[in-house]
Amino acid sequence: DVKVTQSSRYLVKRTGEKVFLECVQDMDHENMFWYRQDPGLGLRLIYFSYDVKMKEKGDIPEGYSVSREKKERFSLILESASTNQTSMYLCASSLAGTIRNYGYTFGSGTRLTVV
């Protein structure tokens, strides 16, 4: 089975800290995505990547950046964490051209609290 692993299940950070959320997939997927999930708002796309060193902004990129130096790893970076970035963060991956047939594979999420 494809596995998408998010390094932390729960994370508590202070306002202004630089935060790294890590995501690793083990099935050679080209596409990787970062979503945040908030009650009543569903999932909103932050950034996605179709290949190494490639990134595209999603619907809510402000306050975030990403890094994809290796195919299997996609990192989400909060340059200066703020309380409105307290949320559940979900990483997902997919093989190129297969989202419609097989959908995404999601990680279990990282619940980030910024205090």
Binding site: V4, Y35, G40, G42, E56, A92, G103, Y104, G109
Partner: protein, 113 residues
């Protein structure tokens, strides 16, 4: 622009009763529609999809959904729910382009024993 609307944020239902979770979409082009399920403390997993062809699609765990183009709907149904169906369900739409989907706000299904 594409979007989906899930009309109910929470749906309580007794065990073994039928359930329908509603989803309406908006898109100016052909659409591909999905339902995902999120069990507590887990990521989302694909439940079923509509790409083309038959408007009634069947998914895992006894769920099915019907694509209705005239009503721009893709409602999810199950004739008899089980306690283990308690989860949050997300409708999603892909209108082509960059292989990414837009998710609805989710419906929490609570199955009552």
């Amino acid at each position: 622009a594409q979007s989906v609307t899930q009309l109910d944020s929470q749906v309580p239902v007794f065990e073994e009763a039928p359930v329908e979770l509603r989803c309406n979409y908006s898109s100016s082009v052909s659409v591909y529609l999905f339902w995902y399920v999120q069990y507590p403390n887990q990521g989302l997993q694909l439940l079923l999809k509509y790409l083309s062809g038959s408007t009634l699609v069947k998914g895992i765990n006894g769920f099915e959904a019907e694509f209705n183009k005239s009503q721009t709907s893709f409602h999810l149904r199950k004739p008899s729910v089980h306690i283990s169906d308690t989860a949050e369900y997300f409708c999603a739409v892909d209108s082509g382009g960059y292989q990414k989907v837009t998710f609805g706000t989710g419906t929490k299904l609570q199955v009552i024993p």
